[in-house]
Amino acid sequence: MNKRKTHKLLSAFLGLALLALSPVSLLAQTQDPTIPAHPRDLKYTQLTYTPPKREQYRHVLSNGVVAYLVEDHDLPLVNVSTLVRTGSYLDPVGKEGLAALTGSQMRAGGTTSKTAEEFDEAADFLAASISSSIGPLQGNAGVNLLAKDVDNGLGLYFDMLKNPRFQEERIKLAKSQLLQNMERRNDSTTGIEDREWNRLIYGANHFSTRQSTKPSIDSITREDMLAFHQKYYQPGGFIFAVSGDFNTKDMIAKLEAAMKGWPVSKAPLPEVPKMPYTSVAGVYTVNKADVNQGRVSIGHVGIMRDNPDSYAIGIMNDILGGGGFTSRITSRVRSDEGLAYSAGSSFSFGTYNPGVFRASFQSKNPTTSQALDIMVEEINKMRAGKVSAEELETAKNQAIEVFPRNFATASQVAGIFAQDEFTKRPADYWSTYRDRIRAVTIDDVQRVAAKYLQPDKLVVLVVGNIDEITKGNPDKPQYSLLKIAKDGQIHRIPLPDPLTLVYPTAP
């Protein structure tokens, strides 16, 4: 049937092709008067878009648990994901890595009724992709499978959520893998950069900086994992996001049946710790002599997401370095000077703790200081002058036009609303989003740049061959790392022992 359609079409075009052979139409082909000379003269139909409403998909199950269900019958697949109120911020001191191990071993270590091997075989035979993990501020568990297998698959999935076995051999294996990777912590400059950036911005003791070490991993037992799971994995801590090929009423019944008899607790969790640390501005370096490219991050602490200036800041950062090629940092560092493959900035808004402003790039040793200098210059320029109307329009249009992409698929719709519920985002957030973007003015952008970009507070981190980077470019001696350092110092951060993260101290 489809084939016939194609054939018809082809012959229609063959007709056109024949016409095109006459000289008149050839001319028309090169200079079609209906094709405007510049795309700005193209006319578009108006596109109206209303984002989906949270209430439309929100269901409270009989045990009080919230589930977002979005049907989509295009493909015979079902996706269930569960957000869990837990996180590695709950790791006891000295047992860093407990939450992450608990999350991964729930999936890897079998259940009380199935050995790890039996569980894996059953999941693989169904071609069900089942996962579990615990991040800094939440746990995630998911299953994706063919609709016809939904009962079997949900059976396995809830068995994992409720009755993990934490099989000893799998724990031993996971620890061996963790320790092997831990030893390699000082190998890649990317890894070093991320670690030291977090330490500089959040301080060494913040939960997002604390990392597992050999002693902490060695000390974690199966009993610790059982207790951690017991404490946080119960329906009262769950929010479900379900999408795909199912009937909503049936799916609700399945979820309720799966949790039947599982006690629900609404006891609140300990709060996410606040950030007590103030970072110290300066130029910090980590030496890694065997690479030919420096990695640089500069920035400081940012804002909370409920800050009313967040919309203007988002637009400001787009213009500065967040908007791809059209943004200033990318345009100058990459396109103008060819100094880096990727160069840009991000300004994140935190839910529990302030986010971070961070601009970064990678450049060959001799030009690292030059690129850094340009970046600082652009930050200062952003604060000092107004952006152009064109820059503002580009950034605002982009944000507004791309908006529907947030809800492109059923699983995105379910996921975004479940996440909003998890972090208690105001219900009108999405319905008012575009108007708030539209309201941002050139003056707003300058005001927030002056207020929220803070050159005196810039932490500058450079990872690479520091001697070569300090030497700079003989052709351009005006750029130097030392010039960027306000206190006239280049601080050297030594590499720590990768297994204990103990840093050597200078004699």
């Binding site: 489809n2 359609k5 194609t6 056109l16 082909q29 079609d32 209906t34 094709i35 000379a37 510049h38 795309p39 700005r40 578009y44 139909t45 295009d74 493909l75 015979p76 697949l77 091997e117 894996d120 693989d124 035979f125 071609a127 499978l145 051999e169 294996l173 061996s176 893998q177 390699r184 000082n186 190998d187 400059t189 030496n287 002599a289 690479v291 030919n292 490219q293 791809g324 090629f325 345009s331 396109s335 880096a340 493959y341 990678q362 064109e390 329009e393 580009t394 249009n397 982009q398 036009e401 791309v402 492109a408 690479g464 061959n465 001697d467 030594p494 590499l495 022992d497 050597p504 004699p507």
Partner: protein
């Protein structure tokens, strides 16, 4: 009991697969040879749009390696309309820049010759540049500045961004170059305008600075990662004659030398409409899309000649090859065999064979990781490309085990495949995963668009509908036969990665020294280990004398060396007592 129910399920699945997977694609071929694939789908008001040029690094030759990829970058640099305020001036200027560049090239070549003959140490060191060379560079900088004045910076990007385009990017591989973006449903005509314009009127602005960007990309991905350089060497060692042997990003010497003229020649042949396929998936009206395709892409003229398939085929491998590397990474082994190109009947069998070996319930994990405990991870994969193919096994050794031990264990698993038929249930498990995977891979509009383009690049888009049956048809006998055909010792190339000691914690005694000084100290340490106490004492006296007249910034270095000598003497004399 369990077994029976599983097999029943398997049967059901088989029937189900045969009935389901059909992606309804509408295909249009313009009279200039360009192909257009359309898949209307409901969802958000957006279109995943892209096109592929059937050219990649495999179509290059020595001297221009990396050109396909460099080209991908150039395609975002504007056209005769987009990106300039005065195209005539701009073209004149570019001509002048090319001329200066040609003269610079001569200067470079003469320095390279001198370096080759040992007359100078480094052809790139500025101190060896002639006055003329330096003058040309200054002249080129001036021209670059003037070009910038005529440019409307990144206009190509800005037009799309303002219109709500998102995820614009491109990718180059050995076999293809693909360009893609998501556009709001009402901007379909904009996409046709922009893409046909850059195919029709490209101007490779900022060519030489973009070459530097690509060089940075190479440093980022290859040079500055723990295994990048070694992986590249392994690739080149595996392929003897095939052009798959050079990296997509190109060799540094070629990147530095490629000219705009070479890029334009390459474009004329490889980016002609007869070598392109475009694809739209999402909120489209197919009739309107066809009309616009004819109107915009119909303007492109066929190329001067039809691009020829790659001529140079891989030579049959006659003897095992082995690379032993010391890198800052976990101890690991990679074993590669030459196999077949994508779409060969054995390619499907090798896919299934790889899946039997891989994953949580795959043979390698079960045997090497869980049962024998000699590896921490293990996997396998078939990589059928347009002209050739390869099969790779890899594993990370558990601490205390060597990559060579793991290598032997991998061969054992291969031998099992060569001797015994796989169990029907085990095979069915893998087939079930292929069946579900076929649906998963077409879930997103963007994913489907890219998949259709890549398939059309080699064997035609319709393989998306016909390939699943080939995977489902694989038998245990096929697997045993294929294992015996390709997994022969003389057909394999092995990479052993031993762990080079990480930079680790710094010796606190060396704090404050420059890297050069640290290196010197390291070398001395080695020499001191073999010296006798009398020699050491003589050296110490000499050192103290030198230190007296050394500049202030060298004092730290002398102190460190002195301390080292004293410690060593103490150690040796203490040992005597």
């Amino acid at each position: 009991m369990k077994k029976i129910s599983l097999s029943l399920l398997a049967l059901l699945l088989c029937a189900f697969v045969a009935a389901a997977q059909k992606v309804p694609v509408q295909e249009v071929v313009l009279d200039n040879g360009m192909r257009l694939l359309l898949v209307p789908r409901k969802g958000d008001p957006n279109i995943a749009a892209g096109w592929v040029a059937r050219v990649g690094s495999v179509n290059e030759h020595p001297g221009i390696t990396g050109l396909s990829h460099l080209f991908e970058h150039m395609m975002f640099k504007g056209t005769k309309t987009i990106g300039t305020s005065n195209i005539d001036e701009n073209l004149k200027l570019m001509k002048e820049m090319d001329d200066v560049r040609a003269q610079i090239r001569q200067e470079q070549q003469s320095l390279i010759l001198k370096a080759r003959l040992g007359e100078i140490t480094d052809a790139k060191d500025p101190k060896f540049r002639s006055e003329r060379y330096q003058g040309l560079l200054t002249r080129f900088d001036e021209l670059t500045k003037r070009e910038k004045e005529l440019m409307i910076k990144d206009e190509f990007d800005r037009v799309y961004t303002t219109a709500g385009g998102s995820g614009m990017n491109a990718g180059t591989s050995n076999d293809f170059t693909v360009y893609f973006i998501n556009v709001p449903a009402n901007k379909l005509e904009l996409w046709f305008w922009m893409e046909s314009d850059r195919l029709r009127n490209p101007v490779f602005r900022e060519f030489y600075s973009e070459r530097d960007v690509v060089h940075e990309e190479r440093r980022l991905r290859t040079d500055s990662t723990p295994t990048g350089k070694f992986d590249e060497q392994f690739d080149s060692m595996f392929w003897q004659s095939s052009p798959y042997g050079w990296p997509v990003v190109g060799w540094p010497s070629d990147l530095e030398g490629i000219t705009r003229e070479e890029a334009l020649d390459y474009f004329a042949v490889n980016y002609a409409p007869n070598n392109l396929t475009a694809c739209l998936v999402g909120d489209i009206d197919p009739a309107r899309a066809k009309e616009l395709a004819q109107k915009y892409f119909g303007r492109l003229s066929r190329g001067p000649r039809v691009p020829e398939p790659v001529r140079t085929a891989e030579m049959p491998q006659l003897a095992e090859k082995r690379m032993v590397a010391y890198a800052e990474t976990v101890p690991q082994v990679r074993i590669r065999y030459h196999t077949v190109a994508e779409g060969h009947p054995d390619d499907f069998v090798l896919d299934i064979l790889a899946s039997l070996l891989s994953g949580r319930t795959g043979r390698l994990y079960k045997s090497l990781v869980l049962q024998q405990g000699i590896a921490n991870s293990a996997g396998a994969g078939e990589d059928g490309r347009k002209y050739e193919g390869l099969f790779e096994l890899n594993a990370v050794a558990k601490p205390g085990k060597t990559p060579e031990e793991v290598e032997q264990a991998l061969y054992k698993e291969i031998e099992r495949m060569q001797k015994d038929l796989v169990d029907a249930n085990e095979l069915q498990k893998v087939k079930n995963q292929y069946a579900a995977g076929a649906f998963r891979s077409i879930q997103s509009n963007f994913g489907l668009m890219v998949q259709l383009l890549l398939r059309d690049n080699t064997r035609g888009w319709s393989t998306i509908n016909s390939d699943p049956a080939h995977h489902q048809a694989v038998t245990p006998e096929d697997i045993r036969r294929v294992a015996n055909t390709y997994f022969k010792p003389e057909n394999r190339t092995i990479a052993i990665y031993n762990t080079k000691k990480a930079a680790g914690p710094e010796d606190p005694a060396l704090a404050g020294l420059t890297d050069q000084e640290k290196e010197q100290v390291g070398r001395m340490k080695g020499m001191l280990a073999q010296a006798k106490p009398e020699q050491l004492k003589a050296f110490l006296a000499q050192l103290e004398q030198q230190a007296g007249s050394a500049p202030a910034e060298k004092q730290k270095f002398f102190q460190v060396v002195k301390k080292m000598l004293e410690d060593r003497i103490k150690q040796l004399e203490g040992g005597k007592q």
